[in-house]
């Protein structure tokens, strides 16, 4: 389906069949259906296969450093709260190199949405274990199999009382769109971990593997219940729940500093500049 957000003249560098395509399409359609204009959207990314996604969207793009999309997104939103700000990258980028920023962004609760293309592997660097790779996952860098337990991003975010915490699957566009809509509409920090098959480097977590396991959280799940959300987030194996696990509305960072923007003074204007100068110099006399 064509959308307002289709990029032109940009060649997509992903492998055919990659789960990233599904995410890209779902995001374009969601933005369109929510009525955004491209110029009102900024997508910030890091480095990796997933991190190329913003280039394939017709939006404002800041494709920064590996692991560092969240601080950039935070600041863009702080300065321009009227824009829709999305941070989008891979599991290595967001949970590995960038883990500390995720942790602390949750505490600030900026009104940004973090989309993680979680293929449980480092794609762009050719297949090393990522923070979410299963124990025993083999690669050239881990021929003995991954020795670490996988990071659980949902449990992590829920444990810190994040605004909205969800999991989606790249292989189900409509389901993914529904979750993206909830996340983008949410006022506050929203994390969407998107299960994304990597057809080249992850022979374990394939489309089929996910399809056999995923199911959507039902009506009986209460996303306002932190304990229930936590419990659900631990479920991973034969059954993998999708949907909004947790929802914890709270004042956003931008609301808290809103008052300040109104006091901003135009120092590019000589008279105002002189006024401030005199006020300030007087402090040092």
């Amino acid at each position: 389906m064509a959308t307002l957000f289709d990029a032109h003249d940009v060649e997509i560098a992903w492998c055919p069949g990659c789960g990233n395509f599904g995410i890209l399409q779902a995001l374009k359609e969601t933005l369109d259906e929510l009525g955004y204009r491209p110029q009102d959207v900024v997508v910030v990314s890091g480095i990796g296969q997933a991190a190329k996604a913003p280039h394939y969207l017709r939006v404002n793009v800041f494709n920064g450093l590996h692991g560092r999309s969240i601080p950039v997104a935070f600041a863009i939103k702080a300065i321009r709260p009227e824009l829709l700000v999305i941070a989008e990258s891979g599991d290595g980028c967001m949970y590995g190199e960038g883990g500390n920023h995720l942790l602390h962004a949750i505490r600030r609760n900026p009104d940004i949405t973090v989309l993680v293309h979680n293929n449980q592997v480092y794609g762009l660097t050719k297949g090393q274990a990522s923070p979410t790779s299963g124990e025993g996952f083999r690669s050239k860098a881990q021929p003995w199999g991954n020795l670490s337990r996988p990071l659980n991003p949902l449990s992590l975010a829920i444990s810190q009382g994040a605004g909205l915490v969800a999991r989606a699957f790249a292989g189900d566009k409509e389901g993914l769109k529904g979750i993206l809509k909830e996340a983008l509409n949410f006022r506050g920090f929203a994390l969407v971990d998107i299960l994304q098959p990597c057809v080249t480097f992850n022979p374990v977590n394939t489309y089929a593997w996910y399809r056999e396991r995923v199911y959507y959280l039902g009506e009986d799940h209460n996303p306002e219940d932190q304990i229930a959300a936590f419990q659900k987030s631990l479920e991973w194996g034969d059954r993998i729940p999708l949907g909004v696990f947790y929802r914890n509305p709270q004042p956003t960072y931008e609301m808290k500093v809103e008052g300040r923007a109104k006091k901003r003074r135009n120092l590019f204007e000589e008279e105002e500049f002189q006024r401030v100068l005199q006020e300030e110099f007087a402090q040092f006399l």
């Binding site: 494709n63 920064g64 500390n100 006091k263 901003r264 100068l277």
Partner: protein
């Protein structure tokens, strides 16, 4: 001509800085020129800390080592510093058993005891202040006013107690007869007109950012840069800045870059260890051509080093920081007055050329208070006008003759694309290697235009030798020149505040100065090395201090005399 040096020493937590701050302020309001240097350890209580305060009728720009007055808030101060008091000097406060130097008067005073009699140990600082003012020969008028201003919100009782404490201090000195020939000769400020401005480097850097129209400051606390964070935080609510304490320095610089991309004037500040963590971000700013200002307040290293001491050891590091090559500005302001202007210049130039601008401060500049007749602000915040016609497709990284491309902010009509990868004119990542070459040339092209913005060093001529320095040592170089001038030596000073890119024609410029001696607060003489590289002229004479302490006048005079 009055020129008094006094030292207030004690354990951390005893209020050394309060006493010296109050004294400085009162003396400046009295029309004296004041120069105060802070010395402290990386701890919160105990240990030893002091302030070196110079009070004079003429403008001063450096500290002296020989003391007229030593104020001991604890006995350790007496032991450590009594040898520094010169003939005719006075030691007051907690004294010890050892004899002071010859012709040094002792005034054992129990500030804390007096304070406790007044009801609380906290009044000790005001007792000491009162005592020192008496020895200097300054009436309590200004001090009372200060007390009233400062403690008003704590209620009239506290004001009264503090005033009493001042009076007690003065009385004790009067009782001892020591106030009969006061150090400042009884000079009094006849009117308010001649009050002096008093400002530290950190305050000036913060103020400069405020005046530059900075709307976003992100930082992770790190001595000696934290004062900038505190200053900007103190103004954030009144002026509408966003001041954010980041989770680490990596976040701090990436936040500043994000804010700048979004349209803010953004800055971050740190010290060497934090700057290390910002190297990658510096390259990101360069590649995305996003202007930011970064302050590196230097302290001795390597590594954690001496967190509260001073150094100029990061020059060559910041010059080359981050992998591969890109243009950047590096400034090192010489004093708070210049710092104020430098920050505004840095913001303007960073934005004009869409590059990172680095300001090198150090603990000495950061914490030292200078006094001035007037403060001036010669720079104005200027935003470059955006040169996009709105019609043709917008190309953020258009290949232009001077390398500067039209910079828009997101949220307008055109989409703004930035990428840390090599990219095409639109900002999208590319593997076209001819384009890569063109892009690297475009970025580097700016350097030659940037060079034209750079100012030649500050110069005072001299026949016998030329002291070459940079950054915060300027003031002490002036003092050394003066001191050696009095001894019949003609000493020049060439001082760099603009460090990179170095201005054109430097070789010919530098050739004309006789007998150059480079003076730096680092081990190897980094400016000297840089000048050698830039000019191919040798600068073998180097005076380097790297123990963490700033140069003081007398010692440096001797060192310079030695190499003459």
């Amino acid at each position: 001509m009055v020129d008094v040096t006094l030292k207030v020493g004690g354990a951390a937590g005893q209020g050394v800085q309060t006493v010296s701050e109050v004294l400085s302020l009162i003396l400046a309001r009295h029309g004296y020129y004041v120069f105060s240097i802070e010395d402290y350890q990386s701890r919160i209580r105990g240990g030893h800390t002091f302030t070196l305060l110079r009070v004079a009728e003429q403008w001063v720009s450096g500290g002296k080592g020989a003391l007229d007055i030593l104020v001991c808030l604890d006995e350790a101060t007496y032991h450590l510093h009594r040898g520094e008091v010169k003939e005719g000097g006075v030691i007051l406060g907690k004294t010890g058993n050892e004899a002071p130097g010859e012709d040094v008067r002792l005034l054992p005073l129990d500030f804390e005891g007096v304070a406790l009699r007044l009801g609380n140990r906290v009044f000790a600082n005001m007792v000491a202040t009162g005592a020192v003012l008496a020895i200097l020969g300054i009436g309590l008028e200004e001090a009372r006013e200060y007390v009233r201003e400062t403690f008003a919100r704590k209620g009239p009782e506290i004001v009264a107690k503090n005033e009493e404490a001042l009076e007690e201090g003065t009385r004790l000195v009067e009782a001892s007869g020591l106030s009969s020939s006061p150090f400042l000769g009884g000079h009094q400020n006849p009117s308010r007109v001649s009050r002096r401005y008093l400002i530290s480097g950190n305050e000036a850097l913060g103020l400069g950012a405020l005046l530059a129209g900075c709307t976003f400051y992100s930082a992770y606390p790190m001595t000696p840069s934290t004062g900038i964070l505190n200053f900007l935080a103190s103004r954030a609510e009144a002026y509408g800045l966003i001041v954010e304490q980041a989770e680490d320095e990596i976040a701090a610089i990436n936040m500043a870059i994000g804010a700048s991309y979004a349209g803010a004037r953004a800055m971050t500040g740190t010290s060497g260890g934090g700057f290390c963590l910002m190297c990658e971000g510096l390259g990101l700013a360069a590649m995305t051509e996003t202007p930011i200002v970064v302050i590196d307040a230097q302290r001795p290293g390597p590594s954690t080093g001496l967190p509260t001491r001073t150094a100029q050891g990061d020059l060559l590091f910041v010059l080359h920081a981050s992998h591969d090559e890109f243009p950047r500005f590096v400034f090192a302001p010489r004093d708070p007055q210049e710092a104020l202007n430098t920050v505004i210049r840095a913001f303007n130039l960073a934005e004009k050329y869409q590059v990172p601008a680095i300001i090198l401060s150090d603990q000495y500049l950061a914490d030292t208070r200078w006094s001035y007749d007037r403060l001036s602000c010669e720079e104005r915040p200027i935003r470059p006008s955006l040169s996009w016609d709105g019609a043709s497709p917008y190309r953020r990284y258009a290949l232009t003759p001077d390398g500067i491309s039209p910079r828009l902010f997101p949220g307008g009509e055109a989409l703004v694309v930035a990428d840390s990868d090599e990219h095409d004119e639109r900002g999208h990542l590319t593997e076209d290697l001819a384009l890569r070459k063109a892009m690297q040339e475009k970025r580097m092209r700016k350097l030659e235009v940037m060079r034209k913005e750079m100012r030649l060093p500050f110069v005072l001529e001299g026949k016998d030798a030329t002291l070459i320095g940079w950054g915060s040592t300027w003031g002490v170089l002036l003092e050394v020149r003066k001191a050696l001038g009095q001894k019949g030596k003609s000493i020049g000073v060439v001082h760099f505040s603009d460090l990179y890119p170095l201005p054109e024609g430097l070789r010919d410029f530098l050739k004309r100065f006789p007998n150059p001696v480079v003076v730096e607060q680092n081990f190897s003489g980094q400016l000297a090395t840089l000048l050698e590289q830039e000019t191919l002229l040798p600068f073998p004479k180097r005076i380097c201090r790297y123990d963490g302490l700033p140069f003081l006048v007398e010692e440096l005079v001797e060192q310079v005399a030695e190499v003459l």
